[in-house]
Symmetry: C2
Subunit: 149 residues, 2 copies
């Protein structure tokens, strides 16, 4: 394992209509709100190739999540059984890294406007990865041609 510390760098920040925990949906899929991601100038070169309509995984650092939690309930359930956090998508986990699939609505310079992000306002952004049906869908749902059945 590396000797270097695993320190994340914020490549940008979320500007979102969700100001407090209670405001955010438990999954971005459940909102049509548009959020903005402002990429810092020193990282904007990394955006080259992104275009409107792209499906993107956005990884954020959920800085208001509890990193000490190992058992929780499925998001959206109040009375479900306790489960290990690694079997849920709860934001509370040892490394509060979120994974949300969004639609890129517009990109202007270093600002991305996206639909489907559930992050709170001012959440640090760690990474953006293009969704790829061929690698991001379980194999049994794919045909021989690599397309969804």
């Amino acid at each position: 394992m590396t000797e270097d510390p695993m320190n994340c760098r914020a490549i940008g920040i979320v500007r979102s209509p969700f100001k407090e925990r209670g405001d955010a949906p438990c999954q971005g899929r459940r909102t049509d709100e548009i959020s903005s991601i402002e990429i810092s100038p020193e990282y904007q070169e990394g955006l080259d190739g992104l275009k409107t309509g792209d499906d993107l995984f956005v990884l954020c650092w959920f800085d208001r999540s509890d990193r000490s939690v190992l058992k929780t309930r499925r998001q959206g359930t109040e009375d479900g059984p306790l489960r290990g956090v690694f079997s849920t998508r709860s934001p509370a986990r040892p490394n509060p890294i979120s994974l949300t699939l969004v639609k890129l609505v517009e990109i202007t310079g270093g600002t991305l406007r996206v639909r489907g992000l559930e992050a709170l306002d001012n959440t640090p952004v760690l990474d953006i990865k293009p969704y790829s049906e061929g690698i991001d869908t379980p194999r049994e749902t794919m045909g021989c041609d690599g397309k969804l059945l």
Copy 2:
């Protein structure tokens, strides 16, 4: 943005047949090799609820990746155009956090045997999240019932 440092914690480590960069496929989807993920004792409680056959996103810290790269070529291409890393799935990026969908073949105590992981041996594991068709697939490929068309 948080004042606290965004320091990741290794929840476990990858035991993989891929010992050096050249050994690993550019995407886990391109291998049927079985890798193991050894979760550290203090985090094993978080595995509760995982079962054989689950489709899981594994997030690792690619500690041998170059964090200074902002332009690269699509993985698997030698002569393609340079693109911003955020429009590719290259392991070289400011935060070398990998995202790989794997199949859980077996879980025994704190050891997960998975198919489809491309991580090098001894790669630190940051997180495990269950794949959910409803939130991890672009909406236009879903029917009204939330199932893939």
